[in-house]
Amino acid sequence: MADVAIPPNEAFANSYLKNHGKRKGILAWILSTDHKRIGILYMVSLFTFFTVGVILGVLMRLEMLVPGPAGKLFTAQEYNALFTLHGVIMIFLFVIPGIPATLGNFFLPIQIGAKDVAFPRLNLLSWYLYVTGSIIIIVSLFHNGLPDTGWTFYIPYSIRTGTDVTMAVFGVFILGFSSILTGLNFITTIHRLRAPGMGWFKMPLFVWALYATAWVQVIATPVLAITLLLIMVERIFSVGIFDPAKGGDPVLYQHLFWIYSHPAVYIMILPPMGVVSEIITTFSRRTVFGYKAIAISSLAIAFIGYLVWGHHMFVAGMSTTAQFVFSFLTFLVAVPSGIKVFNWVATMYKGSIDLKPPFLFVMAFIFLFCIGGLTGLLLGSVATDAQLHATYFVVGHFHYIIFGGGVFIFFGALHYWLPKMFGRMYSIKAANWALAIMFVGFNMLYFPMLVMGAEGMPRRYFAYLPKFETWQHISMVGSWVLVIGLIIMFANLLHGIFKGKVVGSNPWGGTTLEWTIASPPPPPENFEEIPVIVHEPYYHPEAIEVK
């Protein structure tokens, strides 16, 4: 490939990783407005919380060693705290900021040929809000006992319980602001700072995905903010807005909560879909098939995703009309999602496929995401949902989507872009092994949940009937296998970052703008000269024309 532009030694001497400002040490990082450094800050914080979330998850599985209720590792109340913390940390501190805050911050400006995001200081502020919100949540745990409401803070329990829901909710409120500011920044950046020649349909598909996500962040998050604010108002002043004892309607709370939290699922999954488009085209050595269809389908998913929140509430006491409407709208999401998957597969057709780790992660993603999507159909239709609601089936389903879909691609994206970010390569062999182990562990962990759920095992119970013992044990062992895979993967990536073999600017033969600059990229402005865009983003001159 065109790997000759900048000699690696020079790249390391002049990289964003070296200090160029007047500040020293850690201050040069936590006060930097360079989007690349902010991306790294986010990455360190996110994976710290991810580790905590994983440990909590493994403990929850360990709880299922015996059916109980006698001889349990944790009491019922402690188990309530475990699933609440696991949910809050994984959803609000890890997956929602996820790819946009880390890799999006790092690569969005580079991919559109800009020197930074539109509002760099606002970008840093959003990281501080993230950290503040996280600290408040962590503090709330050690104040009045562990929160036990579940991550959805459903009313009326959340206004009755004695644990410190107010503070936990306030933390999430602050995190919401962080998310809004990132989204606002990205939209403005994409509108205002594209390099000359980069029309809307010359943007990389990752940028399109981030654009759609950013709109969801801006338009949906405020509704969560007000919902959480109302919980706080309710707990402090007891105005009665959601309190059934005073005429309030708990179902209305669920509406408001899911008006945000369903679109939030698309905040979690759209950016990974953008990454998939990047990886598939790079490792197939072909321009992407159906570029416009994939780009528009991102917007379509964001849009339809806004219309379907009611499918979380089929059994909550909604009107039958609403059940019908929301069920119908839910099935519409399959259309743009299908468009994406078909175009990805068509991109590989007659491509020159290179089975490197990022591509293998995408393969794992397609498999796991299909299971997640197909089980989603059963939950989207009212009749089957009435049976499966609040069982392990739901837990299995969303882990297949969010973890198997979103987070596996987050990992794949790390394998794709880390050589660019740090100029060094991890061990390909270890990466392949880690993926294989994780894939096995993942399916051992979550497939039994689908089975148990279909047989009636309810979620959020700390004990279970003896007939589920075998499946629970398979699931538990699966969690250990998965963790082994994760440890190998992170060890390999960290070793790669610090000690890996030095690579040039374009190890994979990618065609988007980030592969035209040095690895690691130069500070703080990315490009010596702002590039002028003449080609489509995925222009592979050597590719075979498919007739």
């Binding site: 539109a118 606002l184 509108h191 205002r192 700072l193 509704v223 903010a225 109302l230 002043f237 309607d249």
Partner: protein
Amino acid sequence: MSEIVGSKSETLSHGHDVHKHRDVQGAKLGMWLFLFTELLLFAGLFLVYATYRYFHPVQFHNAGLETHTLFGTINTMVLLTSSLTMVLSIGAMQRGKKWLAVTFLAGTILLGLIFLGIKYFEWTSEIREGLYPGSPALLNMSDGEILFWGLYYTMTGLHAVHVIVGMIILTFMLVFILTGTINQNDYIKLETAGLYWHLIDIIWIFLFPLFYLIN
């Protein structure tokens, strides 16, 4: 908030060659996006209001008779006037009349203060009548009336918080004009702050009929 407004000018140093001029459009786009989040924040509350009004039409009607329409009407006019002085301040800045801009902006802040003052008298009179969340008088009333007053205090209260935030931002703008940071050639900060102030006005335009008039 001041950080948000303050960061707009950063675009200048980080934009590329083609954006040699200050990216005024970018700053405005960013501010409008922020306004949408404020709009949707209140939209959640309006949705709650609409639902409960639909469930308890008669009780909302009766409770609405208790609010002070006169206070509400005067306050609406005060806020509308403050919006006028806001745009006049920007207009004066555009024409380079610094002291006129300062006068109008100070007037805007003063009108905000008057709004809050009237609000204070209104709330105290209602609290004296025993109409406040969790009060014994209120808890004896019907569900619909409890919800009405709950929403009344939550929505006008959240709006008042926004007025206070807006006044703080405008005070910063006043200082920026005096120090010359905002001048005839660079008044985007004042413009975006103005947008925020107008949004507060718009929200009140809808709160006013819902709590003071429809009865």
